[in-house]
């Protein structure tokens, strides 16, 4: 098992300070008792409406926020444990954020951005790095002239491709996509989905694909998990509306047609 979530719960205090010493502050459960496993080479889609806790779950998995209770294991090692430093975690797991324009440093060229993970994690030499960067760029469907461009000279789709290339450069086991292609237009979404599928087959990667768009999930994912109000209500792998149990997943299915 590559990634394993056991009873993961995250709550936030509703009021920042307690009003009385004896009363407990009311807490809001953003993620409630979520169990989920992802095998090596599997693409899992995580769907749900806005505010259902998808992005919070991604933050918990990436150890950007601490869990309230439960465990997240990556390759059998607890993500939130003291022994897992964030750099060893990021070596195995990468996150592609929703807003590609703000996740690329405005003053750095594409080449510098892609060089960083290669130098930091893989300790590659300069000539080797050049070759790897070119390979990565080809993989995400960009041509070498893009290397000398700044992020603001790229379109939204191109920026997102650079972000994906940056995640791939680390050679992780699993990549999380947090609404990564939601802000793109339909044709570029399709292109990127095809590209991701192709890369996944080639490198035997796992994806956790978080989105509210069931159509893209249907194209890409082997298995779908549905979140509703912080709970994981259903996982399914066959696209058969009759087999769905939870009313919310049925509702989601209706939007598909």
């Amino acid at each position: 098992m590559l990634l394993e979530l056991r009873n993961v719960t995250k709550d936030y205090p509703l009021r920042p300070r307690r009003t009385s010493l004896f009363k407990k502050t009311p807490r809001f459960k953003a993620v409630n008792q979520v169990d989920l496993t992802i095998k090596k080479g599997e693409i899992v889609g995580l769907v749900g409406e806005s505010g259902s806790g998808k992005s919070t779950l991604a933050k918990l998995i990436m150890n950007i926020e601490p869990v309230t209770s439960g465990k997240i294991l990556l390759n059998g090692q607890p993500v939130h444990g003291k022994r897992m430093s964030d750099l060893t975690l990021y070596k195995q797991m990468q996150l592609v954020l929703q807003d590609s324009s703000s996740s690329l440093h405005p003053n750095m060229r594409v080449k510098e951005l892609l060089e960083e993970p290669l130098r930091n994690y893989l300790r590659q030499e300069k000539t080797m790095r050049e070759a790897t960067i070119r390979k990565l760029l080809k993989l995400v469907g960009l041509s070498p002239p893009f290397l000398s461009r700044y992020p603001h000279q790229l379109s939204g789709g191109q920026k997102q491709r650079v972000c994906i290339a940056k995640a791939l450069a680390v050679q992780p086991d699993i990549i999380l996509f947090d609404e990564s292609i939601a802000s793109l237009d339909h044709p570029s979404q399709m292109e990127i989905l095809h590209m991701l599928k192709h890369i996944q087959k080639q490198q035997q990667l796992s994806y956790l694909f978080i989105t509210h768009d069931l159509k893209s999930v249907q194209q890409l994912c082997d298995r779908v998990a549905v979140m509703y109000q912080g709970e994981l209500v259903e996982t399914f792998s066959r696209w058969d509306p009759d087999q769905l149990r939870h009313p919310y997943s049925r509702l989601l299915f209706q939007t598909l047609n």
């Binding site: 990021y90 954020l97 690329l104 405005p106 003053n107 960083e116 940056k166 680390v170």
Partner: protein
């Protein structure tokens, strides 16, 4: 870079030109100034502005124009020096306290709040009072007082930048914290810091002049603007030109700094809006 909606306008041009002219005059002081700024000529006391002495002479018969020109060297150069030293002290503190929001941070922040709660001039006077009057002591006092607002400003910048996705993204690329601060945060803070520095230059010059006016900073016969004003107070009624010209010099320099920083502030706001 994208074109900003604000182009060069009158106040920026005036500000920059004024500053360049002032600095140039200061640099070329030995060639420009008509007389020796320290040469005493008691037979020529309180001469009103004339062709030989464009700004007149003071109570010791020294040429006021020459003294003002040499005063640029002192005021501007030392204000610049004070600013640089303050930056050297406060930049690492601001960066680190902004980047790691640990509990130890509160100690620094309360220290800074405490420093900022007391008005600049009062605290500087108190410190100079303890150290004793003199130019070096005045510089130390100004640095001790000004660092807090620098740290606070830098820290607020860093806090804002740390919220950006590219910092997380940089960490995911395996960068060490030191490298993130150096490569990702520092370059972005640069342009706001220049504005802050420009604005503060004016404030420092004003503070230095104020302290020298009170006799705590530059000591006679140093041609410092504030010290010149102090000399003038005793003879104000018989030789008002002694007071007017150094005052105008201070005013012009502070004005230049304000004009530039004001303009840049707006430019930067436009930049932020576009991002």
């Amino acid at each position: 870079m994208k074109k900003t909606p604000y182009s060069w306008d009158a106040s920026l041009i005036v500000g920059i030109n004024l500053l360049i002219i002032i600095v140039l005059i200061g640099l070329l002081a030995p060639w420009i100034s008509p007389h020796d700024p320290l040469k005493v000529n008691l037979s020529n006391r309180f001469v009103f502005p004339s062709w030989t002495y464009p700004f007149g002479t003071d109570h010791l018969g020294r040429c006021i124009l020459s003294r003002i020109i040499y005063g640029i060297r002192i005021s501007v150069a030392f204000a610049f020096l004070i600013m640089i030293v303050t930056f050297i002290i406060s930049l690492p503190i601001g960066l680190i306290t902004g980047y790691w929001r640990a509990r130890a941070n509160h100690f620094f922040m309360r220290l800074i709040d405490g420093t900022l709660a007391i008005p600049d001039i009062v605290l500087t006077i108190a410190i100079v009072g303890m150290l004793g009057p003199g130019f070096l002591n005045m510089m130390i006092a100004i640095i001790l007082v000004r660092w807090a607002s620098y740290v606070r400003f830098i820290r607020s910048l860093v806090l804002k930048i740390c919220e950006e996705d590219y910092i997380l993204s940089a960490r995911m690329s395996g960068n060490t914290h030191a490298r993130i601060m150096r490569r990702y945060i520092l370059p972005v803070t640069f342009s706001p810091l220049v504005i802050f520095g420009a604005l503060d230059m004016g404030k420092i010059v004003l503070l230095m002049a104020g302290l020298s006016f009170l006799g705590l900073g530059a000591q006679p016969p140093t041609p410092e603007w504030g010290a010149m004003l102090r000399d003038a107070t005793a003879y104000f009624q018989i030789a008002p030109h002694m007071m007017v010209f150094p005052g105008v010099a201070i005013l012009l320099f502070v004005l230049a700094c304000q004009l530039i920083s004001d303009r840049f502030k707006k430019l930067n706001a436009a930049d932020l809006k576009e991002v």
